[in-house]
Amino acid sequence: MQLINKKLDWDKFMELRQGVLNTWPTGQEVDLEEAIDYQSKLPQDRRFASKLEAAKKEGITLAQPRAGVALVLEHIDLLQYLVNEGGADLLPTTIDSYTRQNRYNEAQAGIEESRSVGRSMLNGFPAVNHGLDACREVVEAVKAPIQVRHGTPDARLLAEITLAGGFTAYEGGGISYNIPYAKDVPLERSIRDWQYVDRLVGYYEDKGISINREPFGPLTGTLVPPCISHSIAIIEALLAAEQGVKSLTLGYGQCGNLIQDVAAIRSLEELAEEYLGRFGYRDTVVTTVFHQWMGGFPQDESKAFGVISWGAATAAMSKATKVIVKTPHEALGIPTKEANSAGIKATKQVLNMLKDQPLLETIELKNEKDLIKAETRAILERLLEFGEGDIALGTVRGFQAGVIDVPFAPSRFNLGRLLPARDHHGAVRLLDFGNLPFGDDIKDIHREKIATRGKAEGREPSFQMVIDDIYAIGKGMLVGKPR
């Protein structure tokens, strides 16, 4: 059957569901009606969607870390610490990388070795292996809403177990959890598998249980221009809304130039409302998430706090609904709970100092917003053309043709021809457009801005410039200077 953006038939869903629940023994623990009953009894302060909506109304930015370890009690201890000591507003449960690839046997070995050596050997919480009761233990132990954060192309079983387990938000999408997170998974398959997840969330919605859904905004986290991540966020919003999702948080990863970053968050929300409205999804609530810098970090912890605080400032000034927080251990891998908490504290200090300050309104900001909107519309309209009006089909065809293309992605279903580089002001532009459907009006703006930088640095823009930009923040700058 050809992939299209259409609500999955319930009988078809139930048929698929049998296979999904059978892929690992803990799948048998899930009973959908009992799960709805359990979710309906959770206190309001554990519900993700309502906390986000309240923050949006109030115009404030909430802080959320990433965190997850191999064992249940240690994971609970970690989350409690991040709320009590760090002051996190929203919590995560980050899933380990074996589970993300459905490699549950390896996750099991990681759990057992973690038990025997007394420290986490996994980079996250293996929720599928732990099963339903362990998830509920986690949810009941902390007084904040918890989201499942991962990077799973086929996240159907994980969704069944964690949503039945009481988590109230679920990150990911058929593009954003495939192209940056897999090598060999066809887009048709991952989009279909995520239609299943969204249909499941839609079913909870039908029963009065709101589950927040968040496409993963930053993608590869490496010089991704706003138009690329916006296009994917909006496609995934349309796909989710069709399946009945009502609470959507769309994301963007910090590039580093204030004007571009604020313009990106503002335009993301406006574009999403525009496209959701155009396709008739009128009762979805859109909130935004700003990710602090996702690329390479300085190893020095004080310097890392500088990067974290600049991300916090930009999040606040863009009025994003929430910000995902980095830690001073970022350059070295998985942080300790103390380092994680320190990142949240630095972030919240800045958020609190900026929350009453008004949104920037300048001509530069307007121009940047207009540019991002024009670029994003160009991509989305071409994808709709490719799909003969259907965004799911258009996306698959568009990726093949490179009409949408993600820089530095591992997937072989991504053309990988884009070459981003910073301009003289540090905003991310394109050095090579690949097959993006931009007219000369847009291309000339990019070319001119990168040429200005090349002139200032006395060199021709090239791949070396891109590499210098990738290392720059880790070395204490924004724009990568010639060696």
């Binding site: 390896e106 420290r119 590869t220 190893q299 251990h329 380092a339």
Partner: protein, 144 residues
Amino acid sequence: MAEETRQLTLVLGVIGADVHAVGNRILEYALSEAGFKVINIGVMASQEEFVNAAVETNADAILVSSLYGHGEIDCRGLREKAIEAGVGKIKMYVGGNLVVGKQDWNEVEKKFIHMGFDRAYPPGTMPQDAIDDILRDLGFTQKC
């Protein structure tokens, strides 16, 4: 001497369930620029893929990256697999964020040397440092 004109072949990849592609792309670029023949098996590469690629291309060294913290589990046994495949003496290098959490680098390094790697590199190592080591370890005094 023949040795000095021979182009060295390196197998490059990111091990395990790790999808970090950016550094892999940069390493491929930097190593190729330095004159090596680079067999890049990309992200999410298994131990078997590393060893098979090394056997097939008669490679001089295997370069393993791991960024996501599972390196300790993923790398264990790679040397033994190379021995089984008859290329037990091949040089092996590993680098990245090799373990979960901030741990003392000397301990981490010891762990990976004990596993059979010739050298291990901490986070933040620049490609040139590894290039210099590889050339020296394989008996070259300058750029190949």
